[in-house]
């Protein structure tokens, strides 16, 4: 993975830059020693590591603004970071860059039940938002598996999802407003407590922009009343095709479950060995379908889903009788990553989306790829929305296995695009899928995206080296050759 060449002039002025940053963020807010910087050298994509030049942990918006405008003036790159759980290397530091940690922005500023929203600083964890409003019967819907650790600022930057997003949406569908600081040091508010941002939807653009457009310093999220009840079903299938068709049939019948997850045989076995909740082991695919709402609705829909499952040759069906059992059904799925971590020294988590109808085909081709690359793979799958998470099993201590795992991963993502899907459903492009962007987008597509970046950050100082395979200068991107004065298209129909 090639990162932008470190700027020797910046590295040479390191001491001067540190001194200036200390003027802005006094005391422990500027981290210089190598041991302390080590903590920040990678995010959840641990294959990539890089010590940052310096770490800054501001605690006030004016400090963020001052750090950014100073860095802009000095031509210093900045990498924002929340909790560092990104699985695509979005928070990977740069050798000549400031790592801007937002962890000190950890306060909930306002809970407004009348307007059903919470205003929080970006370093508040995802779970803490739900916990803050739990007593009053509310929750924040997007629930990434990393929710105890990941921050709402990181969620906005990655547009994170979770197992409930088919019914309740991703981050972008659940936030009303943000405050950002641009690389110029300008503080800009987008949206608020009301619906729909005014003018161009820059709130929508910021969400999922992977820390490349601005630093998020405040977030207003929508909260929802908790469903009255929820029950889960475990449905086993002898054939993956049947499981895939069952999912399509459930949706075709007009049912949008609160969650609909699928696991393949290796994932089922790993999870069952880890949590022991009685997953059937003699099946090729296991579905967890959760239905939420009033009990009358749940009973009605469970009956329907059960009939659909039987029509699709389900070999095992269990329905949770109480909440403890429902959570037990989920525990294996939620622990799928650590469970796979026990059966393999290392695993590499992928994140493509496919049209659901292509599932059986994709899984079978993935098995072939697994043989070609000589590495195992276990699949967990947000079946409702087609978001695949293949976990590639490898051993980093065996020479060449990391490279093979990466090659296998790239092949899987190319396969996703080939069948009409996309490179990433929720984890982001980061550095990981950066060089695969060309499989989905041509040069012109990417240039249109990069010009948007230029509108926010013309010098390209905020989180460079992520998302885009090539860095272009904004002046060069903006050039437009217009052949004025002649009519170039005489055949064009005109009236």
């Amino acid at each position: 993975m090639k990162m932008p060449t470190p700027d020797a002039a910046v590295l040479q002025r390191r001491a001067e830059i540190i001194a200036a940053l200390r003027q802005i963020v006094p005391g422990e807010g500027v981290i210089v020693s190598e041991t302390e910087r080590r903590v920040y050298e990678s995010d959840g994509l641990t294959a990539y590591r890089q010590l940052p030049m310096v770490v800054v942990l501001p605690s006030r918006v004016d400090q963020v603004a001052a750090v950014l405008s100073y860095c802009k003036e000095m031509g210093v790159k900045v990498v924002p970071r929340g909790a560092g759980t990104s699985l695509s290397g979005g928070a990977l530091p740069l050798a000549d860059g400031v790592l801007l940690g937002m962890a000190k922005f950890n306060r909930i500023l306002e809970i407004d039940y009348d307007n059903r929203c919470v205003i929080a600083q970006p370093g508040v964890t995802n779970l803490a938002l739900s916990q803050a409003v739990e007593q009053a019967g509310f929750y924040y819907a997007p629930d990434p598996s990393s929710q105890i650790a990941c921050t709402i600022g990181g969620n906005v930057a990655e547009n994170s999802g979770g197992v409930h997003c088919l019914k309740y949406g991703l981050t972008t569908n659940n936030i009303l407003g943000i405050e950002i600081v641009t690389m110029d040091g300008e503080v800009i508010r987008l949206g608020g407590k009301h619906f729909d941002a005014e003018g161009y939807d820059l709130l929508g653009v910021m969400t999922g922009s992977e820390g490349l457009l601005g630093v998020v310093t405040e977030v207003t999220v929508r909260i929802l009343p908790k469903p009255t009840a929820a029950r889960a079903m475990l449905i086993g299938f002898a054939k993956t095709e049947d499981a895939g068709e069952c999912v399509a049939a459930v949706i075709g019948a007009g049912i949008i479950p609160g969650g609909m997850e699928m696991m393949d045989r290796p994932a089922i076995h790993a999870a069952e060995a880890f949590v022991g909740v009685g997953y059937p082991l003699d099946v090729e695919a296991l579905l967890i379908v959760e239905l939420d709402g009033p009990p009358a609705e749940i009973d009605h829909l469970i009956g329907k889903v059960e009939r659909i499952a039987r029509d699709h040759h389900a070999t095992a069906i269990r329905i949770s009788r109480d909440d403890a059992e429902r959570l037990a059904f989920w525990s294996g799925r939620k622990a799928a990553f650590p469970a796979v971590g026990r059966i393999s020294p290392d695993y590499y988590c992928m994140d493509g989306t496919i049209p659901r109808g292509r599932l059986a085909q994709v899984l079978s081709r993935m098995r072939n790829l697994s043989e070609t690359h000589g590495l195992g793979v276990a699949n967990v799958f947000h079946a409702g929305d087609g978001n695949l998470h293949p976990l590639i099993l490898y051993d980093a201590n065996k020479p060449g296995e990391i490279e093979r795992a990466e090659a296998f991963g790239s092949d899987i993502l190319r396969l996703c695009v080939e069948v009409g899907g996309v490179l990433t459903g929720e984890h982001g492009v980061g550095v990981e899928k950066r060089d695969l962007m060309g499989t989905m987008f041509d040069e012109t597509d990417l240039a249109h995206q990069q010009r948007l970046k230029c509108a926010f950050d013309p010098e390209g100082l905020l989180n460079p080296g992520k998302v885009f395979p090539q860095l272009h200068r904004c002046a060069e991107l903006g050039r437009l050759h217009v052949h004025s004065g002649r009519l170039p298209f005489p055949d064009l129909p005109r009236f």
Binding site: G199, G293, E297, P493
Partner: protein, 402 residues
């Protein structure tokens, strides 16, 4: 004025390219239903997109539909209905609003204006259902973004940017949207005799209950011609046994003090169609019409305050978050009063007001869209320049100099 009517992507590309070369800006028109929405423009050329029509792919179980951008909305909705599905954001048509009952709103049009109906509070806005597109930007270049799957974070989410850009950044050629199953059953609980304060309270309480209210509106007494007493309407959707259960709960939890009735299926549909199409303020064509988004709990108080300072009629949708106001007699159409009221006494209020209907003179005299802080306006202008550096697409429709 020259009118271009491209039949395919290549011709669209050529038409924009030629306008760019001739330095003659284009007005983008598809169904023409919302032509008078926005600042008036004077463009030497018209780009008629209506031939870019037709559904290109639809697989109900994938919940995704792809169509040429100017496919008429009714055509899309009819096809979806055959499979028991819908556009969950309940796009408004606003045909009679602009006195063009024969115009045909298009899918690309409602997306480009980010228009959403009463279900906005539960299902999200048009932008939340806009998955991907192909377009020709003001640079005269064909580009695409997003995808045809419901979950995707690959690259910047340019669909959001196109939604609500009113054709000022790119001419959409093809769009993909998320679709959802139609509810099996619908019932609307109508509570009568509520003053604005009571309505605000009832809607806040209803939306805080786990009964999945999918729409909440309020018509104040006397303030709209149709309402003799103030009425609040709360819509429930879902499987029949679920709707029956929630309806009883909602009535028992909310309406002991108020008289209530329940509208089922067709009657409910008629009511929400009226709310969506601004029918409570219909026939007041001489009045200036505003669509205002504020924090939902403020809506009722806001409406009252406006009616206190101006000759104004109003009603609420989106649980109070959307205030429709029809103003008479104010020189600026009420802009100053309305926009001050959004910021509120403490100056911290958030929201925005859009001048939906007014004379061309008014629409060029006062800001049609909410004025922005200088730094936000400058950023928005740089975004416009990134996609349309020569300002050839709908120039001036949203902001004066871009």
């Amino acid at each position: 004025m020259t009118r271009f009517s491209p039949a395919d992507l290549k011709e669209l590309h050529d038409a924009v390219g030629e306008a760019l070369a001739a330095d003659e800006p284009l007005e983008l028109v598809a169904g023409g239903s919302k032509r008078d929405l926005g600042r008036p423009m004077q463009t030497p050329r018209t780009l008629d997109l209506s031939r870019l029509s037709g559904i290109r792919s639809y697989e109900p179980s994938e919940l995704v539909l792809t169509a040429a951008a100017a496919t008429p909305l009714d055509e899309v909705q009819e096809l979806l209905a055959e499979s028991g599905q819908m556009l969950a954001f309940e796009p408004p048509e606003w045909r009679s609003l602009f006195g063009s009952p024969l115009s045909r709103p298009t899918l690309g049009g409602v997306l480009a204006c980010n228009l959403s109906g009463p279900r906005r509070i539960k299902a999200g806005a048009a932008r939340d259902h806009f998955l991907g597109f192909r377009a020709v930007s003001g640079r005269g270049e064909i580009f695409k973004s997003g995808g045809r799957v419901v979950k995707n974070v690959t690259g910047y989410d340019l669909s959001k940017l196109m939604a609500g850009s009113y054709g000022t950044l790119a001419a959409l050629e093809e769009v993909s949207v998320k679709v959802l199953p139609k509810p099996e059953h619908v019932a609307t609980v109508v509570l009568c005799g509520l003053d604005p304060a009571a309505a605000a309270q009832v809607m806040s309480r209803a939306l805080a209950l786990p009964h999945e209210v999918s729409a909440a509106a309020y018509l104040p007494a006397g303030s709209v011609p149709a309402a003799i007493v103030g009425i609040a309407a709360l819509r429930l959707e879902g499987p029949a046994p679920s709707v029956a259960f929630r309806r009883e709960r909602l009535i028992s939890e909310l309406s002991s003090e108020y008289e209530s009735t329940v509208l089922e299926d067709q009657a409910s549909a008629v009511l929400w169609r009226a709310v969506r199409e601004v029918e409570p303020l219909a026939g007041l064509n001489e009045r200036v019409l505003w669509r205002i988004s504020v924090a939902p709990a403020r809506g009722a108080e806001f409406g009252e305050a406006i009616a206190h300072s101006l000759d104004a009629l109003w009603y609420l949708d989106w649980g109070g978050g959307l205030v429709w106001v029809a103003v008479a007699g104010a020189e600026d159409g009420g802009a100053a009063v309305i926009r001050d009221a959004i910021r509120g006494a403490d100056g911290h209020g958030t929201g925005h007001a859009t001048l939906i209907r007014g004379s061309a003179a008014l629409r060029s005299g006062v800001a049609v869209f909410e004025p922005q802080t200088p730094s936000l306006a400058a950023l928005a202008a740089r975004v416009k320049d990134a996609f349309d550096p020569h300002h050839i697409l709908n120039p001036g429709r949203m902001a004066e100099r871009s």
